[in-house]
Amino acid sequence: MPDANLQVPIGPQHPALKEPTSFMLTLSGEKIMKAGIRLGYNHRGIEKACEARTYIQDLYLVERICGICSHSHATAFAMAVEECAQLEVPRRANYIRSLVGELERVHSHLLWLGVAGHEVGFDTLLMYTWRDREVVMDLLAMLTGNRVNYGINTIGGVRRDVSSEQKLKILEGVKVLEERTKYYITVATEEVTLAKRLSGVGALSHDDAVRLGAVGPTARASSVPRDCRKDDPYAAYAEVPVNVITDNHNDVYGRTLVRCGELMECYRLIRQLIENLPEGPIAVKAPRKVPAAEAFVRYEAPRGEDAHYVKSNGTEKPERVKVRAPTLANVQAVAHMLKDGYLADLPIVVAAIDPCFSCTDRLIEVAGSARDGVMTWGQLREYGIEWHRKRGVDFSALNRNFRAGENR
């Protein structure tokens, strides 16, 4: 057996992680004694970039923070700007926004089921759920014009309308998906190897979930009934109420059940939204210059509570945009869940919070630095190279095999 306390780095590159994060584990045999988490590998400077673009351009930029929760970010941003500009979004637009939001939730949860299956070695579940995910992606392509990054929002409403044939197609698609989801629920609850891998793993008690600030299905599986659609209704959710699905297993199995329950709830909501779709315009005209104001908006993304803050200053461009993604709230809980667990459980525990580190990596604070000021891109590059050189990294060895001209 390896030495008593082994330091194993999981990440930033690791087959278990879909996006780069660094977990520094202290292992004793197969048991994890301590887990340290470092974020920041996916930081792209989106919040700063938002300040240099107009509101309408920012809508598309914010949408691309994440591929799976793209509609969540875009809608939250649009709602924040509409609040700053004091626009009243028409009812039909709100319903269409909620419809696309629920379809996105279906897409995200089906994807999660597949990923969870893959992390425990159950590739068949991955293939089947992702095959069924194509149904919802085709529906979204028909509704919005693209399979991901839907671009259906605009400041003041939505850009596209839903026709009656599209409504019929959505209802057909939802019927197929509902049947398949019922089958996956039976597989998740009855398959013995899955139950062994998912039960008793990643335990998070109710009090810990509240203390660590968990959101979304992670919290709801520990009996914490937090759901922004119920606590703080936005879009059409005031008129079409949501049943909050909770579970008391407090572990990964509970999270699986919560997500499967939410899938069934989504199908019910989609049907209700389509049946009660009100007539009317789909957008109001939005001013280019938004008066000075601040707005804070919460949206229930598939992963949990997504918070957007927008500060406007009377010009075409926002003064400050801040995004707090749900994974940032859940990642503290992960460190707690990994302690006293097995190394073999790390992939499924991390996957159970449905991590989206692209959403999460926003601002990085350099603690204890005496440096102040602004660096240009070139200066930042020089600084990085010098920093590594001081620590003994020899750059000449790295580019040895590149022939001239091949290195772009």
Partner: protein, 321 residues
């Protein structure tokens, strides 16, 4: 022919040795991947994919990390491959006696089949990489779990046939085909133990892709990786042949062509069964796997042993010493 130098070389290198086994192994890998794909509603790779993978790997650069213990790193795959190829020499394929049969060769075959696992352990351990060391440790832990059921599953029919030689065993069962029915439970036990030996889902922990990158194979590349992967595929063929010889020895006295054809059918049926099991289960954690083997599989293997002892007693009874 069998005991001249040219004969021996022919048997080791061509048939049923290296060339035959390599072809069968690559074809079996194709069957496994294709069956798995069809069960998952996908298309799967074309027939030449395993050959293409093998040739590509042989042509790639062999990257050996600095900290590695070079001799052990290079020898481990070769040891794994040669031991499984040697094991096939003692397993009856197209007729009731194997090529180099002798008394007690069942024990030798079991021993030779456990060498690849030790080779995985050594290769992973001397790779000195964290992930490969964890994979190596898991491979040896798994050996402790499935080895007893595997040995018992070969022991029980051997006990009934009153011999330690695989060739005598097949002759006995070819002569008394109905006695195979006593061993049905043993076939299930043998199959599960074989899954453990081959490190396939659900007993996949030493090679868990999402947890420890690739386990033992993490630091291997190029020719050594090609040889290791070939050893794994050949192990599947040899394990399947062993199970076929011990549990399905019918048709072996119908002449070499028919016997060989039936042998191919049996081995590929076992490969398809392994693919099916791979598709319907998730991966068990290493501690769950050990508990499962000791709590359920080993007692059933003992049960099979008792059944065979009782059957032997009953059959000898009326005749009596």
């Amino acid at each position: 022919m069998e005991h001249t130098l040219a004969g021996v070389l022919f048997h080791i290198l061509i048939f049923p040795g290296l060339l035959f086994l390599a072809t069968m192994a690559l074809f079996a890998e194709y069957v496994d991947r294709k069956v798995c794909a069809r069960l998952q509603n996908r298309v799967g790779p074309p027939w030449f994919q395993p050959w293409a993978d093998f040739i590509k790997l042989m042509a790639k650069e062999n990257l050996v990390p600095e900290l590695v213990d070079r001799p052990m790193f290079a020898i481990a795959p070769l040891v794994a491959l040669t031991s499984v190829v040697t094991a096939l020499m003692y397993i009856p394929i197209w007729k009731s006696s194997a090529l180099y049969a002798f008394k007690g060769d069942a024990i030798v075959v079991l021993y030779l089949l456990s060498i690849p696992t030790v080779a995985f352990f050594l290769g992973g351990w001397y790779s000195r990489s964290l992930f490969s060391m964890i994979g190596a440790a898991r491979a040896i832990t798994q050996l402790f779990a499935y080895e007893v059921p595997l040995v018992l599953s070969i022991l029980a029919p051997a006990l009934l046939a009153d011999t330690w030689s695989l060739s005598e065993l097949t002759k006995y069962y070819a002569a008394h085909p109905l006695h195979m029915l006593f061993n049905v439970i043993g076939l299930a036990v043998g199959l599960l133990a074989l899954l453990g030996k081959l490190e396939r889902v659900p007993f996949d922990a030493p090679e868990a892709e999402t947890e420890i990158v690739a386990g033992t194979l993490t630091e291997y590349s190029g020719k050594l990786l090609a040889i290791f992967r070939m050893a794994i595929s050949v192990e599947m063929i040899v394990g399947g042949s062993l199970l076929a010889a011990v549990y399905l020895p019918f048709g072996l006295n119908l002449g070499p062509e028919v016997g060989f054809g039936l042998y191919l059918v049996k081995v590929f049926a076992i490969v398809c069964l392994i693919s099916l099991l791979r598709s319907v289960f998730a991966r068990l954690r290493i501690d769950q796997m050990v508990t499962f083997c000791w709590r359920y599989v080993a007692p059933v293997a003992f049960l099979q042993l008792l059944i065979d002892l009782a059957a032997k007693g009953l059959m000898k009874g009326p005749v009596g010493p």
